[in-house]
Symmetry: C2
Subunit: 522 residues, 2 copies
Amino acid sequence: MKPSLQGKSIIGFARGAGQEGKQQGINPATGEALEPAYAAVLPEEFDRAMELAKSAFAVYSELPGAKRAEFLRKIADNLDAAVDLFAERGPLETGLPEGRMRGETARTSGQLRLFAQLIEDGSWVNARIEHGIPDRAPLPKPDLRSMLRPLGPVGVFCASNFPLAFSVAGGDTAAALAAGCPVVVKAHRSHPGMAELAGECIMDAARETGMPEGVFSLLFGSQEIGTALVDHPVIQAVGFTGSRGGGTALMRIAAARPQPIPVYAEMSSINPVVILPKALEEGGASLGEGFFGSLTLGVGQFCTNPGLVFLPDEGGEAFLGKLTELVAAASGATMLNAGTCNAYSGRLAELDGVSVVETLAAAARTEGKAAPAVFSVSLEDFIKNPELQAECFGPATLIVRGPVDKMAEAIAGLEGQLTGTIFATADELAGQAALVGALQGRVGRLILNGFPTGVEVCHSMVHGGPYPATSDGRSTSVGTMAIDRFCRPVAWQDFSDELLPAALQEGNPLGIWRLVDGEQTR
Amino acid sequence: MKPSLQGKSIIGFARGAGQEGKQQGINPATGEALEPAYAAVLPEEFDRAMELAKSAFAVYSELPGAKRAEFLRKIADNLDAAVDLFAERGPLETGLPEGRMRGETARTSGQLRLFAQLIEDGSWVNARIEHGIPDRAPLPKPDLRSMLRPLGPVGVFCASNFPLAFSVAGGDTAAALAAGCPVVVKAHRSHPGMAELAGECIMDAARETGMPEGVFSLLFGSQEIGTALVDHPVIQAVGFTGSRGGGTALMRIAAARPQPIPVYAEMSSINPVVILPKALEEGGASLGEGFFGSLTLGVGQFCTNPGLVFLPDEGGEAFLGKLTELVAAASGATMLNAGTCNAYSGRLAELDGVSVVETLAAAARTEGKAAPAVFSVSLEDFIKNPELQAECFGPATLIVRGPVDKMAEAIAGLEGQLTGTIFATADELAGQAALVGALQGRVGRLILNGFPTGVEVCHSMVHGGPYPATSDGRSTSVGTMAIDRFCRPVAWQDFSDELLPAALQEGNPLGIWRLVDGEQTR
């Protein structure tokens, strides 16, 4: 595969003409503008993408799971084949290293293959059958069968921090395509080249596997294109990963539509970590080293970055000593883009200015780079200053020190989070039901004696959590359960077998797990 | 059981004092005000209900399913024991007949017992387990386990048209209590006595089965109480059945909260019925009679009332003859309350005034009663006048006549509906994939050769549908799948067995169905 960046939107199987080049990716390490310039999608091209998505839905939503699985596998193969291109372009656009691009490519293609496997198996549709009882008194019982069906075309927004895994061919796209929904992606201005490369992989796969035109489109352009996407009547759900401001803006647009639609926005999380006294003592310096690794992974630009640590008010010298030593000695690193870097510096300056907050350690700050930092505050002051809960996107963390028996209260007062972590010995955890319960109530994923960074793509992952970690804590953006986001249940009453979807036919031709007259059976 | 109406809110295990009596039920048949007068909940009582719900959640959400099932069964028993009281009070407050009250009591207690069975079995929690692989390269795979957990206290609004099945102890309450969520109900002003009777059944059951105080409260008062309920930070989800105006108002309040919450509002539906030519001929007069029965059931005050019929432009004399004959000969009947009756009369007058709409038959209109009516419009004019899709809550229907091959287009242009019905012979349905597909896209439940009124409470029921049939087509308000409304998934990573919820422990102590390393197993 040869690089072939054209700087144009992908509308079904064709390239948009676009308006004259306007947006260019910027190398965050050098400030250099990257070729090509990206043309904003034209209004008529936008309309055509919508029309195509609508007509594609009628066909695509009715395809057997096995056919859609072929498409997903082909996308995965195309992504893997393009890994060198991603490895070359990604670092230029994001400042992330080449190895990360290779790892993320594998994760993204693996994710698509996992969804392919899920829909090939077919049991995910939650098929339920209850046979009729015509002679039931006082009224006959009808034959009722239900299953999940796709919602319709889905709008997906690319994330700045995962140019592959949460972008054009990322989790939302994989889940929506698996469910039977066409996808229209709005590229992120920070990595348009990565978007185009991934978009080509999907477009080619759609053509190669005989998918209807419009099952996928990729739009370049300003924020207004994103607004128009969420507002368009064809779009039936939205996936977004980004800032709280961006996510809540999309929620407002979606709620104000004549037909409101669901928005799945993953927004902000500071991922509290609680370290109990014995674990703190036993972990010592190596725990501090592990924590430093999690804090600075990807320059702290992970949704699950540990931005808050509850530490007992006594002990922990080895842990803190190691952590502050590593932070003080660290160098600044290039963030995803200048905006992110400026926001990080601004937040550090804010924290510097809060009287109750002490700076424990900070790497030397270099212009245009993000320097790790560790702050500290008392539990009492933390509770009194809810603004200290604001996300600081980058390699900084706030250590909250206080008595262990006051931590549950502070945790119960936290905003919703993606993850909550506890370091504890088995002994000391046994007595902390209230603390564990409080943490469970505020998070999507509880972690014991591990670090929150790193999100496994599997059936049991929950990458979600109460607002404002996400707009809707009832779902996950990672793992196979994400397919439920883009579906709704439909029931068929008294239909004859040949008119029912295969998943609901009496003889179970797909061989899937179903709930038949209240019993799980295959 | 003796009637003991006190006219006071139920706050946990106690009665509110309330402000001086303000709201009284009105007998819609006579206009007579019914004793007692109902005192609006006081601000401090409201606050106490919220505090109690919050503290009850911490305890109630952790109870084993079998304990919660006991509570649900006790409520069901108490409702059944109170059936004579419902049969006496219900007709006075709603104009609905005694037999309906008895039937609805049985449905409501049956619904609670079905949820009791569901949570006793326990498999509903969607438990997923993936074992860790510590030596996986390049990174170890953690042990991950997930299941559904309750959202928190739920606010439930009573429906006017189902004083039992969609009110205090109705579907939303049953699903929320089953999920592990405390419930705070706002009574409907039309049937406060029914609300109090049902509320007593729940309060007594909670005490009798040792549930924490605050697992249930019942509030009387004005619309502002409802607004305050949706707006209160303790409340984590809302269930509502009623008008489109009411539902969308609650959606706006919920979306504007600092922490937006899901609103499950069932709002309006005209439940299209398509009758294809052969079915029309074969059905003849008896189809007309059946349709009349469905149209006038409960004075047309069912959410699934068939308010729209697509009929071929030729034939159907026997069907129409019988239907119009029965409608013309019908008498007016008492509706739920004067407001509903006035709205119905107003809508009839509107339809009378639309030039493209013809009145095919109308019962004699009597002051204060609802007279059945049948209107007709051409398919062409129906498409041109989208305002004809507005719900006419009551025993009236609009017949749309046109060529069968144009019906799919008209149906694709419909707003979201709870149900869609097709009458067809097996032969003629085979050629109508586009029509069936269009209908499926607009509804929650497809019915073949039956009437939409009548909603079976079971595992496979979908009583939901795209907006504006409901605020959120991704769920159902009837049947066991409704429990999902009040839950979110939570994952545990690398927890040791004794710290995991029983549903996720290695030995499967609850004996539930689980997805273990990708395989469904029990």
